[in-house]
Structures are given as C-alpha cells and as structure tokens.
C-alpha cells in the first residue's frame, strides 16, 4: 500500500513557498510571456492551473492526479481497482 498520499513527514524548511514552473506560452488575453503552472485552490477545489502572471488569465486548468499530491491526502480506495459497494 502506497503511503505517499496518506502520511507525510513534517517539512524541514521553516518557511514554505509554492513553486511556479515557467511555461513557454503567450497569454491570449494580454500577449504576456510570463506564464507559469502551479497548484491552486479554485472554486471547485484543488487544481493545477497555467496562468499569465501579468493579467492572471488562466490558459489551462488540469485535474490533479495522485502523483501531484494535490490535495495532499488521497484515499487509497480512489484508485480504479476499488469498485463501490451499495454503501460506498
């Protein structure tokens, strides 16, 4: 059983920053080239978005996978191997 998405150690660094990965793209809204991909909490919950850093336009919204650890906790029964019974 994979533990990666259930139990985490406490971070060692004192202050924590979200990493924003640069993306080679041009913003269709403002023409800006400062585009980055990072984890957000939008109104539907945790997603990964590619956004223009100049105007905040969203170029893409992705559904995270278990490997993204976003949100950090994923129940092991979310894998497709677990078929639901009538009560869950």
């Amino acid at each position: 059983m994979a533990m990666e998405n259930i139990i985490y150690p406490r971070p060692t660094e004192k202050f924590i920053y979200e990493k924003r990965a640069p993306v080679d793209a041009v913003c269709p809204a403002c023409g800006g080239k400062n585009v980055k991909r990072y984890r957000v909490i939008m109104y539907l919950g945790p997603k990964i978005r590619t956004k223009c850093q100049d105007c905040l336009h969203t170029l893409q919204t992705e559904e995270p996978t278990v490997a993204d650890q976003w949100p950090p906790y994923w129940a092991i029964t979310r894998s497709g191997r677990w078929k639901p019974s009538r009560v869950g």
Partner: protein, 659 residues
C-alpha cells in the same frame, strides 16, 4: 475613462438564460428562501447547544453542472449561522462527491464526512449531502454542515486538544460514507458515530436533524422544479451564480491593480512555544485576484494548523468582507479568486498533523487580508478583530440533583471586539468575524450545564485606541458546579490584536482563577479585580500577576505556559475568569473627537487615566468634565513626542491595575 460594468440588461438576461429578469430574480430568491427553511429545520431539530444556540452551522443548495472532467457542484444559495460554513461547503461538497462518485448516489442517500484533509474545517464539523434527482437525473445537491459538540478523541469537545500532534488524537475521522441509503438508516454507520462520542444523546439527535434538513431541502427544490420545470429552474440557478460572480468582478475591478502583502503571528502552538508566522500576498489584476500564502511558516508540531479547505475559506471571507460585503454568497463569490496554499504550512497541514486548533491560523489569515487591503485602500480599511477562538471546553458527568450522571460538554466562548474601521468604531460582543456565531443567553447555559456565569461585562480600557476605536473586550467569569476538565484554545495572549493606520493594539487575552464568588460580586468593577484575588492562568503579566501588555512577560509564573493546553482538572467550585481581547483601533487616537472619548469615559469603557494616556483627553473624574485647555496642550505634546519617536499609542489595558 468610462468604468467597465459587468451587469446585464433585462434583454441580455433573457437571451443568455432563456428567462425574463423577473422570473430569474424570483428563482434566485426562491433558492435563498429554500435554504432559510432548511436552516430553520436544522435549528429546531438539533440537540447540541453549539448548533441550537450558537448556530454553528450552515445549509446550502448546489447546482450540478457537467464539466470537462466530470460533474461540478456550484453553490446556488446558502443560509448560515456560522460564516465559514457558508463558504467552506463549496469546497467540501465538491471533495465529498468527487471521491464518492455521483454515479453511486441514489435518491434518499445521505453522504457524510468531517475530514479536514478532504476540504472540511475540522473533525467536529460534520457535513451531510443529498443529491436531488429531477426527472430521473441528478440535478441539484442539498447540504449542511453542523458543529458536533463531541466527536470522541482525547479531550471532551474534540476541539482544541493542546496535546494533539496527530489527527488520530483528535477524534473520529469520517471519510465520505452513507448514513442513509435510499432513505433507510445505515445502522453500522449510526453505531460508529454513537459509540465514539461522549454525548450519544446529542449526536443521535443532531445527525437526524441534519438528515431531516436534507429531506426538507430535497422536497422544496422538487416543488420548485414541479412548478417551473427543470430547465427553467436550472437556468435560474445558473443566473443566481453568475449574478454574484458579476458583482464580484465589478468589485475587484474597482480595486487598484497591485500586489499587497501582510504578515501576522500566532503566539505559539502550545508545545514548542515559538511564535508562528503567517504571510499573505494579494495580487489584483483587472477583475481577477490571487491570494498566496507562500512565505508562511511550516506546520507547527502542536495542533495550531489548518487544512487547505478551511484556510481558503477564511481568506475568501476576509477578501469578500473588504471588497463586496453586501452580495449573497454562492459559487460566484469564488470564481474570480484563486488561492495558492503551499502544502506543509500552518495553513495547509500535511496529514496526519493535528488541525485541532485550526481556528486561530484562520484568524491570522483573514486579518492579514484586512491588513494587506487596508494598506491599499485606507478608506475601506479595517483593523484586526480580537483574532482568537478563545474557547475553553468543560465537560463530564453532571452532579446536579435531577441530572446526576448526565454527560455534558460546554463550549465557553467569551465574545470579543472587532476592529475599528475607516468609518466607524469596532463592533463589540461578537465572536470572531469568520465565525460570527451567536453568543447564547446565560440562562440556557446554566440550565444545560453545571456552570454558573457570575459576571459578563465589558472590560474597561480593553479596546484598541484610535480615531475609530476597536470594539471593547469582555470579562466573563464561570463557576463550575461539577468536577470537570478544562481544555483551552486561546491566542492573542502574547501578541495583542494590532491597530491599523496608526491605531493602537487592543488588550490581549487573559485567564485567571478567582478565589471565590465574592470576588466577582464585591471586588470587581468594569472587569477590574485586584490581583491579590486572582491566580494567573496565562497572560502577559507583571511580577504581581497583573495584566501588563506593554511591559509584562508572557506567562510569567502563570499556571499554564500558553493559552493552549488540555485536560486541566477543575474541581467543583472553581471559578474561571476570562478576559477576551478587544478589537484594534483604526487611525490616529489623537484625532478622536473629544466628545466621543468623554462618552466612553461616562460609559465606563474608558478610565480617565487611559483617556489621557491614549487619547490625550484630560477628564476630571470628580466632575466628569473635559479640561479643554489641558487636553489641547496634552495632545500637542503627545503629537510632538510621537514625531520624535518618544511616544506611541499604548496597548489597551487599565493603567493602574490594583494589587
């Protein structure tokens, strides 16, 4: 340049939604009315004082839309007793149904969960969800969240446990599971809940009340669809969401583009006793915004950490409070704003860390939003509220005649003051602004629990000074009639609630034990009791144990080393006095109109000494008249000293606290 407007004309509404404006508005208000009736049902049906009296709950209706990756659940309407539940269900309902699977839900099913790591607030807040099937299709969702008075775990109340470092120590963690299947109770699920709580009689009643509320909501939504048709009802629901989104776009676009930062600190986590930092960066571009928690401190070892859903909720409450407080809350309130919340911080703890005292990271989150945006637009500014849950859990078995052996749990939550604003003084006697639950009447508490409230009043000199002062803090004294234990969750003990735009900090939080009931009756006036009658439990105190937020030492010789601890034995007859903070002051206290300072002195919210120290207003205590000449001179001197760095507005506290 003409201001961009996001509102629609009646013909545009007809074209976009296929319904006329009047029908659209009738549907929008009908959804709100449905949630009001659900709210009334939950209020009438619930058993626990924390739901029934504090109204720590909210109810919602959602629209189900089909997105690119599956069903999406958008809140249409909400009625709340507790503000954070109004916002949080947008995240929690999506997380619960995404994991369980809409395809697995049937009419009459009720899905429940309380999991912080799945987007909930904390284990005590139980969410319940039903899908409304119309014309055989899953079309809407009705939901509610209510705070249960006990969910098991190490400490009565399942909240604040200062010893908890892991979620396993907090109580029963419930993944999304059915409590009703097609209208029939799932016996094993009920047994699981009832057998893991100290107050099964409350829990059974509360669970049934929550499920009954969903039945009422399902019927009312069904009635609307029967009357108007599914398509018109869905279009009206979408109009309701978009209506709020357009208001949000308008408000954000009118705020100046920019990057606004603020930071704040919690006292400690109750275990490592080190201050914990919150950092918030708000970016506004046109009609969009981002709130980034990067730079916040890692999750502490103790229980003062939030989950991702809880903290995004509190940030959005702060944002909406500042930008457009008047519009109703629904999914449209969220759509223009993304929250960036790095994993492993005090605001997004990694499992299995304890989030048992999630409340005060939340206070730092929304107060940091207030601060960041107040710098950008001082004319809309708000100073910090009292900024702590300031809760104390007592519980055990009742020993009063007629109730012997009855389990009880009481949430002692003394109300505090909110911050002064650019326009007005801060509001007094409230719970923290992201909760804003009701403060129940004393007689109900005394009937339900073996507790007597000996006094409950404003504390003199507790409000942060300012042109618009904060709301005053309170002094509340409780007598235990049965043996019990005390689990405490208080912050703003070491770092008082700060002022804004030059306003002063409020009096911080204190805990004391009193010698006997006569201390309240004979030796206390306006919350001021001689220190010789009080034993300090925690606070910023001097060597005599007196409150001294300017020169005192954090928990110097106090019984506890922090405002966060667990299961301290309390014998029947023990008297606990809590001083809850006031709100921070807004603006220059030397500019506060003299007549308003005098009015506060007359009302015994201010002592003549603190009026002179903090406002430069000289009041003769014998005549209660202002010496105008002396006041003018004192204000001139204080302003000059401030220019030279020799004076700043003092932290609120009665200056000559008697020994």
């Amino acid at each position: 340049m003409a201001k961009k407007t996001f509102s629609l004309t009646a013909p545009e509404i007809q074209e976009r939604y296929g319904i006329d404006l009047i029908t659209a508005e009738v549907i929008r208000n009908s959804f709100i009315q449905i949630t009001r009736q659900m709210h009334a049902t939950l209020l009438r049906g619930s058993y626990s004082p924390i739901i029934r009296d504090y109204m720590d709950m909210a109810v919602c209706v959602f629209l189900i839309n089909q997105g690119q990756d599956g069903p999406e659940y958008e809140m249409v309407a909400v009625t709340e007793g507790c503000t954070q539940h109004a916002f949080n269900q947008q995240y929690f309902v999506n997380a619960m149904l995404n994991e369980y699977g809409l395809e697995n839900m049937r009419p009459g099913d009720v899905l429940i969960s309380n999991d912080t790591f799945r987007g909930g607030i904390h284990l005590s807040d139980l969410g319940a969800v039903s899908v409304v099937f119309c014309e055989g299709k899953p079309s809407f969702v009705v939901s509610n969240v209510a705070h249960w008075a006990d969910m098991g775990g190490a400490a009565p109340g399942s909240f604040l446990n200062g010893w908890a470092v892991e979620s396993y120590q907090e109580g029963l963690r419930i993944p999304p599971m059915l409590i009703y299947a097609e209208g029939v109770p799932v016996r094993t699920a009920f047994n699981l809940l009832i057998e893991n709580t100290r107050i099964p009689h409350y829990v059974l009643g509360d669970m049934r009340a929550q499920c009954g509320t969903l039945v009422v909501g399902t019927r009312l939504v069904g009635n609307m669809v029967d009357k108007l048709g599914l398509e018109v009802s869905r279009n009206g629901a979408q109009y309701s969401i978009d209506y709020v989104q357009r208001i949000s776009q308008q408000a954000i676009s009118e705020f100046p583009d920019g990057v606004y930062e603020a930071e704040d600190w919690m006292d400690d986590d109750g275990i490592e006793l080190e201050p914990v930092k919150t950092k918030v960066t708000v970016t506004i571009r046109g009609d969009k915004a981002e709130i980034d928690l990067s730079g916040s401190q890692r999750q502490p070892l103790g229980n003062t950490t939030s989950g991702w859903g809880a903290e995004a909720t509190r940030l959005l409450i702060g944002f909406k409070t500042m930008l457009e407080p008047a519009s109703p809350v629904n999914a449209g309130s969220f759509k223009q704003i993304d929250v960036i919340s790095p994993s492993g911080t005090v605001h997004n703890g990694l499992p299995p860390t304890s989030t048992n005292f999630h409340a005060d990271p939340g206070c730092r989150a929304y107060n940091s939003i207030y601060k960041a945006l107040s710098h950008a637009m001082p004319e809309r500014g708000v100073a910090s509220d009292y900024g702590t849950c300031n809760a104390y859990l007592w519980g055990g078995l009742d020993t009063r005649p007629g109730r012997i052996g009855t389990p009880w749990i009481y949430y002692i939550i003394a109300p505090g003051g909110w911050g002064g604003t650019a326009r007005t003084d801060g509001v007094p006697f409230c719970l923290v602004s992201y909760g804003n639950c009701y403060d129940p009447v004393v007689e109900l508490i005394e009937q339900e629990c073996p507790v007597i409230v000996l006094d409950k009043e404003f504390t003199m000199d507790s409000a942060g000074a300012g042109e618009h002062r904060g709301g005053p803090g309170t002094c509340v004294t409780y007598l235990a009639l049965s043996d019990t234990t005390m689990t405490a969750g208080a912050d703003r003990v070491r770092f008082p609630p700060p002022g804004e735009q030059g306003g002063g900090a409020a009096m911080p939080v204190y805990g004391y034990f009193l010698e006997d009931a006569n201390v309240s009756f004979k030796h206390t006036r306006n919350g001021i009791t001689p220190a010789r009658f009080m034993k300090p439990l925690f606070g910023l105190v001097d060597a005599d144990g007196r409150p001294d937020p300017s020169g005192g030492v954090y928990c110097l010789n106090t019984l506890a080393k922090s405002g966060k601890f667990s299961l301290r034995p309390v014998k029947a007859g023990t008297i606990f006095r809590n001083y809850c903070s006031g709100g921070g002051g807004f603006g220059d206290s030397l500019r506060r109109p003299v007549n308003l300072v005098l009015k506060d002195v007359e009302n015994e919210l201010l002592s003549p000494e603190f009026a002179a120290n903090a406002y430069g207003v000289v009041v003769n205590p014998a005549t209660m008249k202002v010496d105008e000449k002396a006041t003018e001179e004192r204000r001139r001197i204080l302003a000059a000293q401030r220019e030279q760095g020799k004076w700043s507005v003092p932290v609120a506290c009665y200056p000559n606290w008697p020994k």
